[in-house]
Amino acid sequence: MKLRLSIYPVLLLLMCSLMSYSQTVKRGRNEGTFNISPSNVAGNGNITTGISLSGGYGETGLRADPGFNVAIGISDIMQLSGRASFTNFQGLGAVECRLQITTPENNNLRFFGMCINGDLYLSTTKDTLIGSATETRPDYNPFFRPSAVIDLDWIALSSHFPLKNYFSFSMSDNPDMLYLYNQLSFKTGFEWKLYQNSIILDAGLGLYKEKPNLMLPSGDKGFKQQTFWIEPGIRYRLFQRISLLGSLRTLIFQRVKHDRPLPANYMRLSCAVEVPLIYRETNSEAIRTMIFVEKEREKKKDFVTKNIEQQKSIRPDFELTFDEFKTDLPDAAQQREQLQKREEIHEKMQEIESLLEDLE
């Protein structure tokens, strides 16, 4: 019963989303990889929402964290987004709010893009160690951490190379641990961006430094603990607009200290659904679509020409030239004219039929 009730809002969201179904793919300008948002922001007034589920295995055992995120484009260079996760279906996890400001030319298909983010993490992890927090009066602190993203969209230079590179720097690697560790995070991503779908590869390096606390009053001297992972994934688009994402993160390397080591997370499987709720086409993605469309037409054209060439080489006796072949085929204008004539005839026939019915 409860499950059925919770399905209705999801169905309604899908319905709202599919209402504006159209010919071309609805690709958000702010679509990135699983771990890195691009430097581009959503179109002004556009709203994208998504749900995710990450399941992993680590030193603390198995866990699965569902999440919810929303992004709103508030001008051509700004975006406000939020994300909330639920720790192992048992409680609210980290809540994140982000204001993203990108460099100009965001509405064009740019090769180089950069953005600066103000990230506010609202911690829900019980802190009983830092500052004035005690066992009986724990703190749930907010943390403000800036971050930056640079991306290179190679399709802007060459239509045959639809690769997008991401480089991100943040002062938060694991928001749930921000209360205990100062963190640095370096991530890079490669996205082979096709017309609808994408193939993704992310990699990340996280550095951790324990803050002074009741257990370790002096804190760590430097970033003694490091972790490095890679995460291949895909983006698959349904109904031209709903994105399904899947990825698998694998821990490659982790260096920890002897006392109070950072718990390792060996594997993490993530999947997500992203739905554009309010969508208006952006110029940058329209240009990207045009590039794919042109490319596909060129391909088709090449195929036809190749066929003709082949036919010519197989049957030289016919001496059929391409121009002659072309004149035999009705072009689109002729087809439209014929269609229009048929419609007129059909209308006139309907008029005659109605006149006859009146006479009867």
């Binding site: 019963m1 009730l5 209705y8 007034g45 508030i74 048992q90 110029n283």
Partner: protein, 378 residues
């Protein structure tokens, strides 16, 4: 089940479909709007009715048994997340006033939170887009409880601030500096509300509070950003307020840095039909004094003897909150001032040259000569 479905459908329709369906060029703006708790000096306009639905949430630990690991493992849901719904309705009268009713409908343990009624008055030049605006706000609030879930059982010190059970009156002076009428390229406003909160209960007469909200608002056609400083201070600027509770069994000091002080960052998204979706994140600036010193500290012992306190109580307000709201008009007639604001903002807005890819692909003469709207396949 049907009711749930209807509610879900209505809310979703309200949020996502209405803005798209009733998109107009003349945006409906509430002349007497608020930015989180910060009120501007203007009033709503005669006969205009606006409704705001708000949800406030935060995480806060108050029940000791939740800290016991054995209890945690037996519970399916152990989050200390709290969420409260609020509603506000305001109606404009004349060109100078707005009357409003507001309530936190549900509070801790599903009890009724509070109900308040008030009136906001402004100077008669409210019809114009004015550089300097002045107003007065009077509000009577009835709080239904002041106990749970305070830490340590100290009455009145709730997670979001100090409250007094029963009736209180708020009086605030409102000032607004609106730069838009002077410099149309700078849609910036500086707003300040300053006043007093007075409890009607005689045993809480010492607990009156000075109220201050001050902030800056950057407004464009479709969105606003704001940053607000909020202070609810006891009369403890120069020396701590000493409070006694439980017939003198508890005597404690509240210092000035321990007053609830928040920095709120937030934004609004506006749609042409008047719908405003708002998100605010207040972050606590207050600092607890005694717990920061450490209870075994010598300095703390000296302080304790100095003020003769029996208990090292710190207020321990919630460190952050999230507040989301939806505001929409039930009855609306455009005010001349807001018409002018829209005009000035639009005057400086860059033209939105948006490419329509669907039309582009169907235009005759271009490569996209597909006669029917069929999805392109790749």
């Amino acid at each position: 089940m049907k009711i749930n479905l209807i509610i879900s459908a209505s809310v979703l329709a309200l949020i996502f479909m209405v803005p798209a369906a009733f998109s107009q060029s003349n945006q409906k703006r509430n002349r007497g709007e608020s930015f989180y708790k910060l009120q501007n000096s203007n009033t709503s306009g005669p006969g205009n009715i606006w409704v705001t639905l708000t949800a406030v949430g935060f995480v806060w630990d108050d029940v000791p048994d939740k800290k016991d690991p054995s209890v945690l493992s037996s519970q399916k849901w152990f989050s200390n997340l709290y969420g409260f719904p609020e509603i506000k309705a305001q109606v404009g009268f004349g060109d100078f006033g707005t009357a409003y009713v507001e309530s936190r409908v549900l509070s801790y343990r599903f009890k009724f939170g509070n109900i308040a009624a008030g009136v906001k008055l402004t100077t008669p030049n409210n019809e114009d887009l004015r550089l300097n605006g002045f107003g007065l706000d009077f509000k009577f609030n009835y709080q239904f409880f002041e106990t749970n879930p305070t830490l340590g059982g100290y009455y009145g010190f709730m997670p979001e601030g100090f409250v007094v059970k029963g009736l209180t009156a708020d009086v605030k002076f409102l000032y607004e500096l609106d730069l838009l009428p002077r410099i149309s390229k700078v849609p910036l406003r500086a707003i300040a509300n300053a006043g007093l909160r007075m409890p009607f209960r005689s045993d809480r007469a010492d607990c009156f509070q000075y109220l201050l909200d001050a902030g800056a608002v950057y407004s464009r056609y479709g969105f606003d950003f704001f940053a607000i400083y909020t202070l609810e201070a006891f009369n403890n600027l120069f020396k701590p307020l000493i409070l006694t509770q439980e017939n003198g069994a508890k005597r404690f000091a509240v210092f000035f840095p321990e007053n609830p002080m928040y920095l709120t960052l937030g934004g609004n998204i506006r749609y042409d039909n008047g719908l405003v979706i708002s998100l605010s994140v207040p972050v606590l600036l207050s600092r607890n004094k005694y717990s920061s010193m450490g209870y075994g500290n010598e300095e703390y012992q000296i302080e304790r003897e100095k003020y003769n306190v029996t208990d090292p109580f710190d207020p321990w307000f919630t460190k952050w909150k999230m507040a989301g709201s939806i505001s929409f008009p039930l009855r609306y007639k455009k005010t001349s001032a807001e018409m002018m604001r829209t005009y000035l903002i639009l005057k400086n807005r860059k033209k939105d040259n948006r490419m329509d890819i669907d039309n582009r692909l169907q235009e005759p003469g271009t490569e996209g000569k597909s006669q029917k709207k069929e999805p392109l396949e790749f």
